[in-house]
C-alpha cells in the first residue's frame, strides 16, 4: 500500500517498528504535494528541507533506542495562522507576506517534541475570515472531490491537504466552524476542541474569545491522537483550562466497537429543515437512524436561541478582530506601503492596510469598529454577548436530556468556486450549524456521514456534527468513531476510497 494512503496511526507504527523511515514517509508526502498541489492549492509554503531534517531527527532518535509517541515521524500540514519559528507565516494575508516569526506556537512546540513532521503551511481565508478559502490573499484552494469546488474554509488548505492525501494530519483553527465545515465538505474528520482545551499561544488571533486550534485527519482515531499531542494546559495562555485532557484516543477506539447502547443523542430541531440541501438532510437522517441502530436513544431537543447565533457571531467576531488586527500597521513587521520618506506614519499605516488587507477583512474590521464605538456598544456588542449567554443556557438545558447533540455540519455540500463570493450573507450561512458550539465554547466534531448525489453532478461528502458539553471532547470522538466504523462496515471500504483520483497524481 502506498505510504500516503496510510492513516497517521499506521504510519506512526510503521516508523516506530522500522518498517519504514520517517524520511521515506516525509518524502512520499512531499512528492505527493509536488504532484497534486498545483491542482489543489492547499499549501502557501512547503518546507521540504525542514520536514526532511525533522524526519531524519526522528529516525535518529528511534535508531538510538528512544521511545517516541504514536505520531513520531508522521507528517502534518499546518494552517498558516499558527506561528512557526523560522518558517514564513502569513495568515493568508498579503500584509504579513515575508514575515518570519521568531517563535513557535505552543502547539507547534508540542508537535515537534512529539516527533510530528511539519510539511509546510496551508492556505486559508485571510485571517481565517471566510468559509471557502477564496478569501486567501494568495490563491484559492480546491476540493479534491471536485477541483472546481471549494474545500471549505477558513481551514480549506488543511482540509484539502488531508483529503487530497498530501498529509495524513493537519491543524486547522475554528472560530465559527472553520475546522468542521472544511472537514465536512472534503470528507474528512475535523474537531473543534472545548474553548481553552488547546493553547492559543502562537495562534494569530481573529476572534480571541472564539478561536480554537484542532485536528483534521482522515480517521477519527488519527484526529484524537493529534488532539492528545496539542491539548492541555499552557501557562502562556490565560484562557487555557488547567484540567487534564480526557483520554481521546481511548474514546475513539472504544467508539470503533460501534456500540452506543445507553447513549442519549439529541437532534437539534433548529439545525435542519428549510435552507438545507436535500442530500444533506437525507444523509443526516440516515445517520440518525444508524445511531439508533447502534443502541443510542435519540431524542429531539429545542435550542430556540440558536437562531440568533449568526447575527451574534457577526458582531462579536468582527468586534474582536477590529482590535486584534490593529497591530498590522507597517511599523514593526510585514508589508509597508507608501513609505517614501515624506509621508507621515498615519498615511503609511493607512496605505499599508489599504494594500495589505482584502475586502472581507476590511468589511469585518469596519463592522467591528462600528459595533464597538461609543454609543453603539450596548446595542451591538453588549446584546451579542447576551445572546451568547442564552445560547449557553440552551445547551445546558439540552444536555439535561441528551449526552451529545447532533446536526448536519453544514447546510449544503461543497459549492463551486465563485458561486457565493458576491454575496457575503450567502457565504456566512455556511456556518449556521457550527456557530452555536463556537459561541458557547463547547467541543464539536465533524465526521463524514454520507455522499450527496442529489445536489450536484458529482457525489460530494456530507458531514455529521456531534457536539458535547465543555471538556467532554471524548464523547465527540466516541460517537464519531462509532459512526465511522459502522459506515465503513456497511460500505465495505473507507469513506475516502470513493474520492476520485486527482489529475497529475501517478
Amino acid at each position: 500500500m502506498d505510504l500516503i494512503e496510510l492513516s497517521a496511526a499506521s504510519l506512526g507504527e510503521a516508523v516506530a517498528t522500522g518498517e519504514t523511515s520517517a524520511v521515506e514517509v516525509a518524502q512520499a508526502h512531499l512528492d505527493r504535494i509536488h504532484a497534486v498541489d498545483g491542482a489543489l492549492g492547499a499549501f502557501l509554503h512547503v518546507d521540504a528541507d525542514g520536514a526532511l531534517a525533522a524526519a531524519k531527527e526522528v529516525d535518529d532518535r528511534i535508531a538510538a533506542g528512544e521511545k517516541l509517541g504514536p505520531l513520531a515521524g508522521v507528517p502534518l500540514a499546518l494552517k498558516d495562522v499558527i506561528v512557526t519559528e523560522g518558517i514564513p507565516t502569513t495568515c493568508g494575508s498579503r500584509i504579513l507576506e515575508g514575515w518570519i516569526p521568531p517563535y513557535d506556537a505552543t502547539i507547534v512546540r508540542r508537535m515537534r517534541e512529539a516527533g510530528i513532521v511539519i510539511l509546510g503551511k496551508t492556505n486559508m481565508d485571510e485571517f481565517a475570515m471566510g468559509s471557502s478559502t477564496e478569501n486567501s490573499g494568495y490563491h484559492p484552494a480546491h476540493n479534491p472531490w471536485d477541483v472546481t469546488r471549494i474545500p471549505g474554509g477558513s481551514s480549506g488548505g488543511s482540509s484539502a491537504a488531508v483529503s487530497g492525501y498530501e498529509a495524513p494530519l493537519a491543524i486547522g483553527t475554528d472560530t465559527g466552524g472553520s475546522i468542521r465545515q472544511p472537514a465536512a465538505v472534503t470528507g474528512v474528520v475535523g474537531h473543534k476542541p472545548t474553548y481553552g482545551g488547546v493553547s492559543r499561544y502562537g495562534l494569530i488571533a481573529f476572534s480571541s474569545s472564539l478561536d480554537q486550534a484542532g485536528p483534521l485527519a482522515r480517521t477519527v482515531l488519527d484526529a484524537a491522537l493529534l488532539h492528545e499531542v496539542i491539548g492541555g494546559h499552557d501557562p502562556c495562555d490565560s484562557t487555557s483550562i488547567d484540567a487534564a485532557v480526557p483520554a481521546l484516543a481511548a474514546a475513539a477506539r472504544a467508539g470503533a466497537a460501534a456500540d452506543l447502547a445507553g447513549l442519549r443523542v439529541g437532534v437539534v430541531r433548529e439545525l435542519s429543515g428549510e435552507g438545507y440541501q436535500q442530500g444533506v438532510l437525507d444523509s443526516f437522517q440516515s445517520t440518525v437512524d444508524l445511531l439508533r441502530e447502534l443502541g443510542a436513544e435519540v431524542v429531539e431537543v429545542s435550542c430556540p436561541h440558536f437562531d440568533y447565533a449568526l447575527p451574534a457571531y457577526y458582531l462579536i467576531a468582527p468586534s474582536e478582530c477590529s482590535s486584534n488586527l490593529a497591530r498590522f500597521d507597517a511599523m514593526r513587521y510585514g508589508l509597508r506601503a507608501g513609505d517614501d520618506g515624506v509621508r507621515g506614519l498615519e498615511e503609511v499605516m493607512s496605505l499599508t492596510r489599504e494594500a495589505g488587507f482584502g475586502p472581507e477583512v476590511k468589511r469585518r474590521v469596519i463592522l467591528g469598529t462600528y459595533a464597538l464605538s461609543s454609543g453603539y456598544y450596548d446595542a451591538y456588542y453588549g446584546q451579542a454577548q447576551k445572546v451568547r449567554t442564552l445560547i449557553s443556557r440552551d445547551f445546558a438545558a439540552a444536555y439535561e436530556q441528551a449526552d451529545v447533540l447532533v446536526s448536519p455540519t453544514t447546510p449544503f455540500v461543497a459549492f463551486k468556486l465563485g458561486e457565493r463570493t458576491a454575496d457575503p450573507m450567502a457565504m456566512y450561512i455556511n456556518d449556521l450549524c457550527t456557530l452555536p458550539a463556537s459561541l458557547s465554547g463547547v467541543p464539536a466534531i465533524s465526521v463524514p456521514c454520507g455522499l450527496s448525489t442529489t445536489d450536484s453532478d458529482v457525489p460530494l461528502p456530507v458531514g455529521l456534527q456531534v457536539m458535547a458539553p465543555a471538556l467532554a471532547d471524548d464523547r465527540c470522538y466516541r460517537v464519531a468513531a462509532a459512526v465511522e466504523a459502522a459506515l465503513d462496515a456497511r460500505r465495505g471500504r473507507p469513506f475516502m476510497s470513493d474520492a476520485p483520483a486527482l489529475e497529475g497524481a501517478k
Partner: protein, 499 residues
C-alpha cells in the same frame, strides 16, 4: 476672545477651583505586566522585549500576580474597596509606541474603588476622595529626532524603545476636590507627595518622578462662588512635585483670564512646560479618540479571593501618616517641623539618625539644614546623598563631645560625601579635630598678637571688637581646628583685657 493677566490673589479672590488628579505609578515588579521581561530602568533600547510585549502576531498576555498584589496593597492603603471580580479592558488607539495598537487597561471594572487620602496643608486637613485605582500596561517610549525641541513637530524621524512597553502601571484617580481655594496648588502637591510616600512605604514602586515612574495629570476648573463647577482642562506632562504646584497655579490664572475676558473654557488636554511654567493647548474633547473599550478576551477575569486581600491587608506596613504621628512624638517635633521634614524628604533620615543615637534636635537640624542645602545644590534627594544616618549620628556625637565644632562637622560631612569614607577616616586624613593642645594654641595666639601691634594697641585702648583680625589669624594658623570663642577669650586674656 480676550484674556487678561490676573494676579493669583485676584484669581482666588474671585473664583473657586476644583481639582482632580490622575497619577500613573510604574510598579516595581521584577517582570512586566503580561510577560516575563525585566522592568529594569536604563537598559539599552529594545533589549527587554519578547513576542508578548512587542505584540507580535499570535502572542498572548498573562497577568502578573505581583502587580495585582501591589495594586491591591495601594488600594487598601487608600481605604478603597477591592473588587471581588473585575476585568481588564482593551483601550484601542493607534500609536507606534503601542505594539498592539491597543493598551490593556481597566475600564468600568477597576480593581480598587472608592477610597480617600488625607493630606494636611498649613495645619488644615483635606480629605481627597479616591475614585479608583486600576492596573494597566505602559507604552513604549518615543524619541523624536532631528527637531529643535525634541517634540514630534519638526522632527526628521522617531525612534521607539519598547523596553518600557508592558511595564505595569497603576492609575490612581481622585474624585473632584472642591473647597481648597487659594491653597489648591499646595493641596495638589501635598496629595502627590503623600501618594508618593505611601507607594514608597508599601514598596510597590521606586516613585522617581525624574525617571517617569510617577507621572501626574492635573485637572482644574474654576467657578464663581455658589455657581456650578466650571469646565475642566486636563494638563499632562506634570513630572515633578514643584510642577504639580506650578501647573495648577498657572492653569488657574490662565482660566481666570479667559473667564474674565468673557471667554469660555474649552474641555481639552493641555501640556505643561517645565521651562516656562505655562500650559499650552493639546487636543480638544471634540476631536478626542473613541477608545472603543471592550473586555480583554485574552485574559480571564480577575477575582482576588477575599482571604488573599485580607492577607495583604494584614501585611501592610505602618503607613506614612501613622508613622508621622508616631515620629512627631519620638522626634519631639512640632507640626511645623514635621511639615518641614516632609517637604525636604528627610523624615525617615531624621528618624534613622535618631535610632543611631543622635538627639532629635540635632538630627533634625543637620538634615533640614546643611544636608538639605547640599542635596539641593547637587539637585538630588537628601536620601541619595552619600552619607548614612549612622555616619551623621557619629559626627553629631563628636560635636557633643566637643571634639568637633559645627564648622569642622560640616567639613567632615563634605569629606564623607566626597570620598565615601567613614567620618573617622575623614577626620584622620584631613586632621579635622578641634585643637585642645593649649601650648600649640598659646603659641599661635602669641604669634598673632606679635604680628599685629596696631590691632593690639586698639584693643588695649578699649576697642575690644577690634580683636577679629587676631582671632582670624589664629584660626588660619590652626586650619580651623581651634574653637573661635575659646581663641577670642584666650587673646583677650593674654592682653589682660576684660570684656
Amino acid at each position: 476672545m480676550t484674556s487678561t493677566m490676573l494676579s493669583y490673589e485676584d484669581v482666588v479672590a474671585r473664583y473657586e477651583p476644583v481639582l482632580g488628579l490622575e497619577t500613573h505609578i510604574e510598579l516595581g515588579t521584577v517582570s512586566k505586566m503580561f510577560c516575563g521581561c525585566a522592568t529594569e530602568f536604563g537598559a539599552p533600547a529594545n533589549t527587554h522585549v519578547c513576542p508578548v510585549c512587542l505584540g507580535l502576531p499570535g502572542s498572548l498576555p498573562v497577568a502578573n500576580k505581583a502587580a495585582i498584589e501591589y495594586t491591591i496593597r495601594l488600594g487598601l492603603a487608600l481605604h478603597c474597596s477591592i473588587a471581588t471580580w473585575c476585568r481588564f479592558a482593551r483601550k484601542n488607539y493607534y500609536y507606534p509606541d503601542m505594539p498592539k495598537n491597543f493598551q490593556i487597561s481597566q475600564y468600568d471594572e477597576p480593581l480598587c474603588v472608592d477610597g480617600y487620602l488625607d493630606v494636611e496643608v498649613d495645619g488644615q486637613a483635606y480629605r481627597i476622595g479616591i475614585e479608583r485605582v486600576h492596573l494597566e500596561e505602559d507604552t513604549g517610549k518615543s524619541t523624536h529626532v532631528g527637531g529643535a525641541t525634541g517634540r514630534i513637530h519638526g522632527a526628521t524621524h522617531s525612534l521607539v524603545d519598547y523596553n518600557r512597553a508592558g511595564i505595569p502601571l497603576m492609575e490612581v484617580v481622585t474624585k473632584p476636590v472642591p473647597g481648597t481655594g487659594a491653597l489648591a496648588p499646595a493641596v495638589a502637591r501635598a496629595y502627590v507627595t503623600e501618594l508618593r510616600e505611601i507607594a514608597r512605604t508599601l514598596g510597590v514602586s521606586d516613585v522617581r518622578m525624574e525617571q517617569g515612574s510617577l507621572r501626574c495629570d492635573v485637572n482644574v476648573s474654576l467657578n464663581l462662588p455658589g455657581a456650578p463647577w466650571g469646565t475642566r482642562t486636563e494638563t499632562k506632562n506634570v513630572n515633578s512635585l514643584r510642577s504639580v504646584e506650578r501647573a495648577v497655579r498657572s492653569e488657574m490664572i490662565r482660566q481666570a483670564g479667559v473667564l474674565d475676558g468673557g471667554g469660555r473654557i474649552v474641555q481639552e488636554t493641555r501640556h505643561f512646560h517645565e521651562d516656562t511654567g505655562q500650559t499650552t493647548s493639546g487636543r480638544s474633547k471634540e476631536e478626542a479618540t473613541d477608545y472603543r473599550y471592550f473586555p480583554e478576551p485574552d485574559l480571564v477575569p480577575l477575582a482576588p479571593a477575599p482571604e488573599w486581600v485580607e492577607e495583604i491587608r494584614a501585611g501592610l506596613p505602618e503607613l506614612p501618616a501613622a508613622r508621622r504621628a508616631r515620629l512627631a512624638v519620638e522626634l519631639n517635633a512640632t507640626p511645623h517641623d514635621m511639615q518641614a521634614m516632609a517637604n525636604a524628604g528627610v523624615t525617615d533620615l531624621v528618624a534613622a539618625t535618631m535610632s543611631a543615637g543622635a538627639p532629635a534636635n540635632d538630627a533634625r537640624k543637620w538634615w533640614l539644614g546643611y544636608l538639605a542645602q547640599t542635596a539641593n545644590a547637587a539637585e538630588t534627594d537628601p536620601a541619595d546623598l552619600n552619607i548614612t544616618p549612622g555616619q551623621l549620628a557619629e559626627i553629631i556625637a563628636l560635636v557633643q563631645a566637643g571634639t568637633l565644632s559645627d564648622g569642622l562637622a560640616r567639613q567632615v560631612i563634605d569629606g564623607v560625601l566626597e570620598t565615601g569614607q567613614p567620618p573617622a577616616a575623614v577626620i584622620d586624613a584631613r586632621g579635622l579635630r578641634k585643637l585642645d593642645d593649649t601650648d600649640a594654641l598659646t603659641t599661635a595666639v602669641d604669634e598673632a598678637i606679635a604680628a599685629q601691634p596696631a590691632v593690639v594697641e586698639k584693643i588695649r585702648g578699649g576697642k575690644i571688637q577690634a580683636v577679629g583680625p587676631i582671632v582670624g589669624a589664629v584660626m588660619k594658623a590652626t586650619r580651623g581646628q581651634a574653637d573661635a570663642a575659646a581663641v577670642r577669650a584666650l587673646v583677650l586674656g593674654r592682653l589682660g583685657v576684660e570684656e
